[in-house]
Symmetry: C2
Subunit: 296 residues, 2 copies
């Protein structure tokens, strides 16, 4: 079994690393805060002080970090992964970041004779625990083939989308569609409620037609039942839309509805909802319509 350096033991990274240990992979872990490291050490992982130190002991490096600057630091920083990358190694960044970063990492890896993949995920903490994430992969076919046995430990649907950066582009597309559909459902249910019509009956009736979506099913129900504990935190979705908008700027693809929902998520955060599930977007529409209780 290949030794895996796993960097970033957040809500997603912890169960993913654990699944790799359970599948028999020797694992070297790196994390900013010590708590999750100790927990993983108790499961048999080694601990390394820096990304470079972990990379020196491993054939495969997986990163699962919060945002673009973290990924830049962990790869390109002074004790970064790339300073210890050797020929034949494989670097897999599973964070959600700008596609341009994915291309820069892939280029630097190529210069060192190593492979690199961008492999962002969807499916949330539950998917990470169950090893049932959807994984959208960008990178060349050889690196994808090399990574597949490891990615299949972590995910149920592992799809190569295209060359380096394509995984991040697909993830951005996913986050655009989910966010804008949340807004669509939020506007419809708010209109129904304000117009004196039972939004539960409307949701039920609409699920049978062209308005059907997973968001109407799952998040529409959350909106009706005021189930706003995450789930997926609003602040993370706003971060992902920021990435999507940056990708749109580089690609010269204006994204007007994405930009609008980005601003409405900013309003949700301004109103104290940063840590709520993204379906709490509906409370911003309710506030706009004069109903100001986010829990009500």
């Amino acid at each position: 079994m290949q030794t895996v350096a796993f960097i970033g033991l957040g809500i997603m990274g912890r169960p993913m690393a654990l699944n790799l240990i359970r599948a028999g992979h020797p694992l070297v872990a790196v994390n900013r805060s010590p708590g999750p490291l100790q927990a993983l050490e108790a499961q048999g992982a080694k601990v390394a002080p820096t990304p470079a130190a972990a990379a020196r002991d491993a054939q495969v490096v997986i990163t699962m970090l919060g945002d673009t600057p973290d990924v830049e630091q962990v790869y390109f920083g002074p004790q970064g992964v790339l300073s210890a990358t050797r020929a034949g190694m494989l670097l897999i960044d599973m964070s959600t970041v700008d596609p341009a970063i994915a291309r820069r990492i892939a280029e630097a890896a190529r210069d060192a004779g190593a492979g690199a993949l961008d492999a962002p995920v969807s499916g949330g903490e539950a998917g990470a625990r169950a090893g049932e994430l959807s994984i959208m992969v960008g990178g060349d076919e050889a690196a994808f083939a090399q990574a597949l046995p490891i990615l299949e430990v972590l995910g149920k649907r592992v799809v190569r989308i295209g060359p380096s950066g394509a995984g991040q582009v697909a993830k951005a597309c996913n986050q655009i569609i989910v966010a804008v559909t949340l807004e669509a459902v939020g506007e419809a249910l708010t209109l129904a409620k304000r117009a004196g019509v039972d939004p539960e009956v409307v949701r039920e009736a609409l699920l049978g037609g062209f308005a059907q979506s997973r968001v109407l099913e799952v998040h529409g129900l959350r909106m009706l039942q005021r189930q706003f504990q995450p789930g997926f935190r609003a602040e993370l979705h706003r971060k992902d839309l920021r990435i999507a908008l940056a990708a749109g700027r580089s690609a010269q693809a204006p994204l007007p509805a994405t930009a609008l929902v980005h601003e409405l998520l900013t309003a949700l955060m301004a109103r104290g909802g940063a840590g709520l599930d993204h379906s709490a977007l509906v409370t911003v529409l309710e506030a706009l319509s004069g109903q100001s209780d986010p829990a009500g």
Copy 2:
């Protein structure tokens, strides 16, 4: 079998009227242009010169008209339905109009001792031909029970949403969700294409997760295959969003994404796409990103 006055033989009204004749209902038809009247006469319908004349011969009046002013004229005009409405009659408006109109018709019907329902549909021309429309009904339970045998000739899913106007509110909610989801899918597929990633692979990958919707399935495919013959015409969807925005104004429910998509449908019409399927909304995003060929 109750005699039905059927007013409005457009693309939707024609097959609906025909299904009622086939189900054995004596039918009196009214239409602005004579062509569809002659065709229906050949199938056994009688023809009346005005809505009032048709209503005089019928127990049930069904209207299927293009827009709010047509409905106002047909009901409240000098030779209108209401001038000939008697106690025990049932008025069913299946047009998509402002919920406020539905409430006005219901009130006037009540004054005459008659019942009234707003019963807008979704499912398009194909659904109308097959008698498989989804019908969203507003009005009291007694009128709904009286109408059900007739509505079940026309539709497969017939749901009472609530009191008068509730059918129109549900239809507005449906059109909001479909329009804004079209925009979501359009932005995602345009970003993918502009970023050099195969939008077909992205669509396929996203259908398995939270981005799944009927719009991504059906209209996403139309966008990729450039299948922009209607389907549902962009100009009609813009009209429906105008109604939704008016309903939002009366209910004090601001609908920011709906307003945005209304403007983008206006752009589609300005670019010559009024008669294209609403999925051609994606061509506006392509134009914004510098690709200007609507057919390309």
